[in-house]
Symmetry: none
Subunit: 531 residues, 2 copies
């Protein structure tokens, strides 16, 4: 049976760019466009030429090799001709393979937002599509608020869709702009639209405001739609767009879709999807969602010790898909139940080479169990774990030794009666027999200590130049201010773009922070190949 073709339309650089807290530079857009080609999407909507300088510059040349480079814009203003609409002309002039114009399809919006008649809106859609088609490139229309518009005035919504199709649009995309439509409603309405536009010319664009972005996209496909719009890692306004990283594996691995449809993305491409998702998070400079379907760090991690051996025997009975298919891995967590096979698995994952029979492994395993009982959560601190392992195998040089430190926080009134706080740290180090002593101030005790530690590392100074502390989390285990403190530090190297996590545990928060800081520096030196 021949499979039908499903098309993927990525709007990371347009709708995704409207995410609160996200602003792409031209350079970032270029890098993301390359990522989209690596992923294998059919269309990459690059932005809105003319709307802002970044987008205008981005569209000065074609930025994709494989995906159809697409420009977004609005349909012709009412009361003007196509040639007399400079905004539209600017879009038509862009170096693209396709255009995607957003149009009103809810009569109420036509009145309130456009201030023109229903007929003028239809004319705008028709004229815009015709002008786009006349360039020889593909044209599509995003029918904004389509589902709410259909519920309010079905005839008009259908008229908008039909007008776009009749004018020659390759795709008429039905947008759940508010994100409030539910799957059965999507199915029912898409069914009705097929009276005026065939399914192979229909697209779906959803948002996650009720947690149904994925389900709505697939419901629309079930109802006949053949283009799905979404973003990388589901970024987008409010609660985000449909997450292509979640959709693609489902379409390729679940038989109810894989048997019926073919994508441009192949099973070989799919093994890169975890890497692509993480690379995108790096560009956004944010921690990956550890629980993301398919690609999340814990997507295939099981804590319940019961399953561990059973899973390794027959993964299919405990995992819905094999993690290797999406380039992810099974993570049986280094937990209280940690056995040797778990440990070997983790070491292999971190690239630590060791013989299964190496006697030092038993010692390391006992050490890990002991420390985990004390509060070290190594599943959250790969770098500390790797240091611990490599030290057990004699692979970590003694870069420096901290002989002592002192941290002071003082709050008092100054001479003019203002309440001031000050933090100061003094650190005494030994580097190759040479004593060094540094003092630093900071915003707080840990900041002061961090600065003092990194102020003068002698011959190692350049190796930690790019070192940046990104995040710092503290948890108190067993309650109260006298209990055990666990500190997790996330570090980043601005030159290598490497990101790592280290941990410290102590009843003293400054001590715990100190451990995590020292581990971070040692890890940076180890990875820099410092000698």
């Amino acid at each position: 049976m021949t499979k039908e073709r499903l098309y993927l339309f990525d709007t990371t650089l347009r709708d995704g760019a409207q995410t609160s807290g996200i602003d792409f530079s031209v350079n970032e857009k270029i890098v993301i466009a390359e990522l989209l080609d690596r992923l294998g999407v059919d269309y990459a909507e690059g932005g809105y030429p003319g709307a802002n300088p970044t987008d205008t510059e981005f569209f000065s040349k074609k930025r994709t090799q494989k995906a159809k480079f697409t420009a977004f814009g609005m349909t012709k203003r009412a009361g003007r001709s196509v040639s007399n609409d400079p905004g539209l002309q600017q879009i038509l002039a862009a170096e693209v393979d396709a255009y995607c114009f957003v149009a009103k399809s809810w009569d109420y919006h036509v009145k309130v937002a456009l201030g023109c008649t229903n007929e003028e809106n239809l004319e705008g859609i028709s004229e815009t599509v015709k002008a786009a088609v006349a360039t020889g490139r593909e044209a599509m229309i995003d029918c904004e608020h389509f589902f709410d518009g259909f519920k309010a005035n079905p005839e008009y919504a259908l008229a908008c869709a039909k007008t776009a199709y009749d004018a020659g649009a390759r795709w008429v995309v039905l947008c759940d702009t508010n994100g409030g439509t539910l799957p059965d409603e999507i199915k029912g309405i898409v069914g009705k639209v097929q009276a005026v536009v065939p399914g192979d010319h229909l697209g779906i664009h959803t948002h996650d405001d009720t947690g149904h972005a994925i389900a709505n996209s697939l419901a629309a496909v079930d109802a006949g739609v053949r283009q799905i719009q979404g973003t990388l890692n589901g970024i987008g306004e409010r609660c985000g767009n449909a997450n292509l990283i979640t959709l693609i594996p489902t379409l390729l691995l679940k038989s109810s879709y894989a048997d019926r449809f073919a994508l441009a993305v192949t099973r070989e491409h799919l093994t890169e999807i975890t890497s692509i998702a993480h690379a995108f998070d790096e560009i956004l400079n944010r921690s990956p969602d550890r629980h993301a379907p398919y690609v999340g760090e814990t997507a295939f991690a099981t804590k319940a010790g019961i399953h561990a051996s059973a899973i390794l025997k027959d993964p299919q009975t405990y995992e819905h898909v094999a993690p290797e298919t999406v380039g992810n891995r099974r993570r049986v967590l280094v937990s209280d139940q940690a056995g040797k096979s778990n440990l070997l698995g983790e070491l292999a994952r971190l690239g630590v080479e060791v013989e299964k029979t190496d006697p030092r492994l038993d010692r390391l395993l006992a050490d890990v169990k002991q420390r985990e009982a004390e509060g070290y959560a190594y599943e959250a601190a790969d770098a500390s774990f790797e240091l611990l392992a490599r030290r057990a195998l004699g692979e970590v040089p003694r870069f420096f030794e901290v002989n002592s430190f002192r941290v002071m926080v003082e709050r008092r009134f100054n001479a003019v009666g203002d309440l001031v706080s000050m933090s100061e740290a003094v650190v005494k180090l030994d580097i190759d027999g040479e004593q060094r002593m540094s003092v630093a101030e900071g915003n707080g005790p840990v900041n002061a200590l961090d600065r003092a530690l990194r102020k003068d590392l002698g011959k190692y100074q350049t190796a930690i130049d790019g070192l940046e502390l990104i995040d710092y989390k503290v948890r108190i285990l067993n309650g109260g201010t006298g209990a055990v403190t666990r500190v997790l530090i996330e570090s980043h190297d601005t030159t290598t773009h490497r990101r790592w996590f280290t941990i410290g545990v102590s009843s003293n928060i400054v001590d715990a922070s100190f451990q995590a800081l020292v581990d971070s520096i040692n890890y940076a030196l180890l990875k820099a190949g410092a000698v």
Copy 2:
């Protein structure tokens, strides 16, 4: 038309506890149980008595007032009688309203994981349910891997479900344990199960491995199921369980469900859901998901300037539900009207009496907004908020004044070559014009400061005799060790059993801790009626 009753079953404290990186203490479980009662769920699954010390202690008494307190466990071991199964006996003996036993329903798992025959497994289900029912309490069965089990051997899966129902189970819960089943499959299979178990005795338990946890839950409801299992903020193994915080608003606000079903949660409860979701994140000590449906900070925020005025004119045409219904806010303009009614609601909830027209309220509102922008999350710190409010109304005496403090942490080698850490704090106080100065040591800087603060409060000493610090959470806002620190302290009075939360924010962790500690002491004195 009478609405059918839908039941909500929360498994945050059981399935949620299996989340990678999450470990609840007994104390945290107690606080979360109170949160669940505030939310209004029907069942709260507290954990697995006998499986670990925390859960065993948690089940030493009933921990909910409204929700049915439920114990989890496994069905009877094959080859033993109910009375001879100590694990099962321990569960049956717990102080609960209901039991939820997980049972195998996939014949392959019966063979590989249990190592018994299919019939023995059915007998285990039957005997367990009967024993539970005999206690007079509710019994339910979680049919593990039900959907995969049904696909592999439908007759056996149905036999498991039927056996549980025939033995008297109140609920037979169909679990998509792998998280890989899709909505149409859920619907189809649930339909078949109704041949042996009526829908009003069926439950659904989903996971988010394909992004369908919500859609699968609702698909099951559409197919006849009447209990939904989920967790707060969707925590849970791998990619998480169905998020009750996302489900509840949809069930109450979308007509396709609201017209057909009634929950124990009312529209009034619903206005607290944003606050509850954020409070839970605070307990987990993690950043809230800003993009979460309904309750996320950006759930109703629009960046596209186009909409701003149109939204305010007629929000219904741009928002799928009104943010106030879920206690969230539209973030387009800072609306004074919306802010003030929120504030009055909060004050009423805390028992602070004030006239709506009191002019001091505007000043308090501005103060709260300013502080929240700085990082004070008052929804997680009622006591600090109450102090702030009552101070604005002139109701809080000046019990004591801290003139200055100094905290020192030192780590060095002692005379015999051991590495030691010591922390010391000195505090200077003013009580009714009388100067007092105290010094104390501690396990860390905050512990030392806490002890020094409480060492000598003069005439107020007895009022804080029962004061105990239970928990202490730190979060860094905006990353790195130089950023803003937020400290949340949970305090407890052993004499009154009152429990309260206070907050401090500063770039200096010791300063932030100090604020929260001082608030805690002032709150204790206020509530003790100290003069």
